[in-house]
């Protein structure tokens, strides 16, 4: 799907099943109910959506300011997010925190390929044009700009096209 962003947090306690890679969806060994599995993402997403709009991360202007070095705003937001993530990962490792299902948290390594460079550049172009990365796109739609659904559909077309051309692109 559109945002494999959080996929590095793979949850699993069976090393044989673990395949690694940077494109893996959250892996969980045990089954859980549809409601149980989705409600935690709903709550996490709810908080994320509020932050996207309240911190003005979903604002096209804030992204323009960032790329023009005219404001500290986005650097502050991203910097604090990295800081929070460092502390969270450190705490998870220190206390051996388990998932809700009692499984160990496995952090998969990001693998380097040339796609990181070229894909990253293309993503940067799109980020500057739309003022949104994949997450805030959803928040733009519901915070008063339903027409951004067109951008979302186009982004989905982009992910689909990548799947189509994957074998032919330098990696």
């Amino acid at each position: 799907m559109i945002a494999p962003c959080m996929s590095t947090l793979n949850q699993n306690n069976n090393s044989e099943k673990f395949t690694g890679g940077d494109d893996l969806s959250n892996f969980q060994s045990s089954r859980e109910s549809w409601l149980g599995s989705n409600i935690k993402y709903l709550l996490a997403g709810l908080l994320t959506g509020v932050v996207f709009v309240k911190a003005e991360i979903s604002s096209w202007y804030r992204i323009q300011e960032m790329f023009r070095f005219d404001s500290f705003h986005m650097y502050g937001v991203i910097g604090s997010a990295v800081f929070t993530a460092v502390v969270s990962v450190w705490l998870i490792k220190k206390f051996g925190t388990k998932t809700i299902q009692g499984e160990a948290v496995v952090l998969s390594d990001k693998k380097f390929h040339m796609g990181v460079v070229w894909g990253g550049l293309l993503f940067g172009f799109g980020w500057a044009l739309t003022g949104a990365c994949p997450g805030p796109l959803f928040a733009q739609i519901t915070s008063g700009y339903p027409q951004i659904a067109v951008t979302l559909l186009s982004a989905l077309a982009g992910t689909w096209t990548y799947g189509l051309l994957k074998e032919k692109l330098p990696h």
């Binding site: 945002a3 959080m6 940077d22 709009v53 894909g119 940067g124 172009f125 739609i141 700009y145 027409q147």
Partner: protein, 121 residues
């Protein structure tokens, strides 16, 4: 995704900031020379207004912009949260490369391609 949507709606409605967004003066004047207004909203209506959908603005900002976001995210193996936030916080060097690429792409677009494209449309 549904959560982000509901969260965005909550933040823009019941939890909305009563004050208008102030854009950095340097950015506002740079955008003004390109004919883009800064009037306190989250996004400029002259580009992202619903009536812009079927214009060349729509083609560039909605269709091409969205396509690049989706394609680039898949090709690069992650976006801002996956690489810049999570990757950097776990000290993964491919994520540092990706973050530098994201920023380089944005700088090139804003400073080099954008003034050219905006004249074109």
């Amino acid at each position: 995704m549904v959560g982000i949507g509901v969260g965005g709606w909550l933040a823009a409605g019941p939890l909305a900031n009563p004050e208008a967004i102030t854009v950095a003066p340097a950015t506002a004047s740079a955008l003004a020379t390109l004919g883009i207004e800064s009037n306190g909203t989250l996004m400029p209506a002259s580009i992202f207004g619903p009536e812009q959908l079927f214009t060349s603005n729509g083609l560039l900002f909605f269709v091409l912009g969205g396509f690049l976001v989706g394609f680039g995210t898949r090709y690069g193996g992650g976006c801002t949260s996956g690489h810049a936030i999570f990757g950097l916080s776990t000290l993964q060097w491919p994520s540092l490369v990706a973050t530098v690429s994201f920023m380089a792409g944005g700088f090139i677009m804003v400073h080099v391609l954008f003034p050219f494209l905006i004249k074109l449309i």
